[in-house]
Symmetry: C2
């Protein structure tokens, strides 16, 4: 009898975390681990691509956390350039496009995400790029190096804003075209307006409320402009910043059930709900919101890593489960830092809460300390119980990471009043004597009473 | 009949927070508010004094949050330069040194703290300074301006280290003389060693394990050196950085009971335990540790503000109580950031926990992102329950404020494992995909199992 076989489809955050964690718990004589990755790289940072494009990080290889060679040293057999074509759940095999058939005892589907694409003509034109694989980053870098002067970014989520920021910093004229009225759709309108104004002030053109209708191309099929109902925006580069959907074609074809978000339905141990003998993790799965229990799809490396680790623990024989998401997100555009967590007002209302929302303004450091920057903090809470439901921060340097304090308070189920009493640090270079997050909590807890 | 009378002794954080909060709840026709302050200023930032000395903040008045004039506009009668000499609890009056006798219906004792002084000869020499009143800052600034070249800082708490840092930055040769083996006594030894090495590398001389024996002076009574058993450290400036004790002479003489910390015993509504008709708040009171319930004395503006606010609410007719302290503290020395919260290992052991402590090293940003700095995170937890008890961080820019995330997790009573699953933000300019605080929690939660 040979060793038990663990086969992983997809070699980025979820897949490689699972492989590494399993190996920590089970040696090579006990378990063979094979990873199939269609691309040339594993364990790369898709989130780092904007910074590579922006030349903030100049070396592509810095975005790669670990190479197949490094995994090989742990007896993890990583096969790059190897695309899985079909899963046969009955036979317990995976067929690759190059004709191999691999058997498995444990299977993980970690096929990741794919950039969302608006259903418009011209999207396959030369000059239209997603922000997903390192090859996308290389293509955009090449376009900039070749003299691209005008870029249109479709979508104002964090990837879209980061790309707008770095392309603007590299000297391109940048227009962000939004289907929504404001960027960062998971911010409340008052906070989104702060973002919109700030990026406009930086010289980035924002065109809201304009679903894209067509990518216009020249005779050679090269992008020439982006057309909306309101106008046509000339450009030589289009970046898709509309977010990521789950890549589920392999799973769907194999018969794994998809949830209402379109991603693979899994339980908290990351087992497929329709086929518990198969694991799935990362950007291809449907997860759940910590507060509401509702299904959610959030494509983010941090969740993928944790979910992969859960799979690795379970395959390794140790109990583990994924604890859900709050939808915490953080980004920077120039010096502006934007963070959010939990439910925004509309989400909280939809979930049936009696919503109280308050925004306060403060400074990141003692007001007299050099570098004190403006910060706005918004808290969403339940009027009846006082429970904190969501938080948003927009401000200068030092603002963004404060979202983690609020995410922790929400994760722990604190009320605004309980959190308002908490013993957060105070020192003039780091905070005013009343940290803005506590001021926000105090205002929210006072609001509850009155 | 006149209005009800609220008399406040001491016009800094606790006193003025109480006065302002009371006024928000009760108008001037209903309640007269009088504040007696012995010094020239109210509502000033003692924590800002090091940065004024360091010329990081050049204008003294920037350290003053609000002036007596501004309070007067709210019908709060602030009498600076007015020292209370005695409280007559039976008569319900306070006598001032200039011979006034003021009656009250509600009394708040907010006499603050005083710099701790070692019991050695020479401490009253010319050139020895506390870091307490703005006048102290002015004196030290004047000494530097007059050409002081060598400074000895007694004590390595945060005020001591901040003063060492700013004096060093202003070109003085600085020696920190410690009675303890390491600076920052409320850090575990391994973390204290990181601090000690880093400040030594900056060129600040640290002399541990040397209780001071004498301040040597010249014939004119001017400081000349600090002598310990190991040597004599020549200097023309001595700074007391030994921490703050409670200023309780007025309260003690009036018969208010002091606790084992030497500070005024109060309940959670900030009423004196021996005389519940009297409130006390701020650096002069004994508070309690959130985790252990044990008495604690922590002189810090953030607590003083919150406690003063509790008093103001109660006098204003609204229920309120102080929720305790974790001992959260944060400081910077050069680019080094140092934070702590909750119980350190020795405190946790003394409190009867079965202590597990683990330190991890990581980076503040994605490893490939410019400005990624080293950070060490230590977590103290209870081996049996997994409950988080304490946390310490030492590292480069971006490290320090992470202590707030840990303070919130501890405040909420999370276990290491519960916290390890939490949805903290990830973006390359702000954090690695595994934030170091989560890596620490994961290691701690794994340790619990093994």
């Amino acid at each position: 009898m040979g060793a038990d076989r663990f086969l992983v489809i997809g070699g980025d955050a979820a897949g490689m975390s699972a492989a590494a964690q399993t190996r920590r718990l089970r040696g090579a004589s006990d378990l063979a681990i094979t990873v199939l990755e269609q691309g040339p790289d594993v364990s790369y940072s898709a989130c780092g691509i904007p910074y590579w494009v922006g030349d903030v990080v100049s070396d592509r290889d810095r975005l790669i956390a670990r190479t197949p060679h490094e995994f090989a040293a742990q007896d993890i057999d990583v096969r790059t350039g190897t695309r899985a074509e079909a899963i046969d759940l009955d036979a317990g095999t995976v067929r690759t496009v190059d004709g191999q058939t691999l058997g498995y005892d444990h299977l993980l589907v970690a096929t990741g995400g794919r950039p969302l694409r608006p259903p418009v003509p011209g999207l396959d034109a030369d000059g239209v790029h997603g922000v997903h694989r390192l090859a996308d980053g290389a293509d955009i870098r090449a376009a900039v190096a070749a003299g691209a002067r005008r870029a249109v970014v479709l979508g104002g989520g964090y990837i879209g804003l980061e790309m707008a920021d770095v392309l603007h910093a590299r000297g391109l004229a940048v227009t962000v075209v939004l289907a929504d009225p404001l960027p960062m759709a998971l911010l409340d309108a008052d906070m989104g307006e702060r973002v919109c104004k700030a990026i406009g002030d930086m010289g980035i053109d924002v065109q809201p409320d304009q679903p894209v209708r067509e990518i216009e191309t020249d005779a050679d099929g090269v992008v020439r402009a982006v057309r909306t109902d309101a106008g046509s925006y000339p450009c030589d580069l289009v970046v898709l910043g509309l977010g990521m959907g789950p890549e589920v074609s392999l799973a769907r074809d194999a018969g794994l059930r998809l949830g209402e978000t379109g991603a693979i339905e899994v339980d908290r141990t990351m087992r497929s709900r329709s086929h518990p003998e198969v694991f799935a993790a990362g950007d291809c799965v449907q997860t759940f919101h910590r507060l509401t229990g509702e299904p959610a799809h959030v494509a983010l490396g941090t969740h993928a890593n944790k979910q992969g680790r859960v799979v690795g623990s379970v395959v390794g024989g140790r109990a583990a489960r994924f604890a859900g998401v709050l939808g915490t997100a953080l980004t920077a555009v120039g010096e502006l830092e934007i963070g959010r967590t939990g439910l925004c007002t509309t989400q909280a209302e939809a979930a049936g809460y009696d919503v109280r929302a308050e925004t306060i303004e403060g400074t990141t450091r003692a007001g007299y300390f050099p570098g004190a920057a403006e910060i706005a903090v918004k808290l969403v809470s339940d009027r009846g119980s006082g429970e904190l439901l969501g938080a948003q921060v927009v401000g200068g340097p030092g603002s963004g990471k404060r979202i983690d304090v609020l995410a922790t308070a929400i994760w722990a189920g604190l009320t605004a009043e309980e959190f308002a009493g908490s013993d957060l640090s105070y020192a003039p270079p780091f905070a005013p004597v009343h940290d803005p997050v506590l001021v926000a909590a105090r205002v929210a807890s006072r609001a509850e009473r009155g």
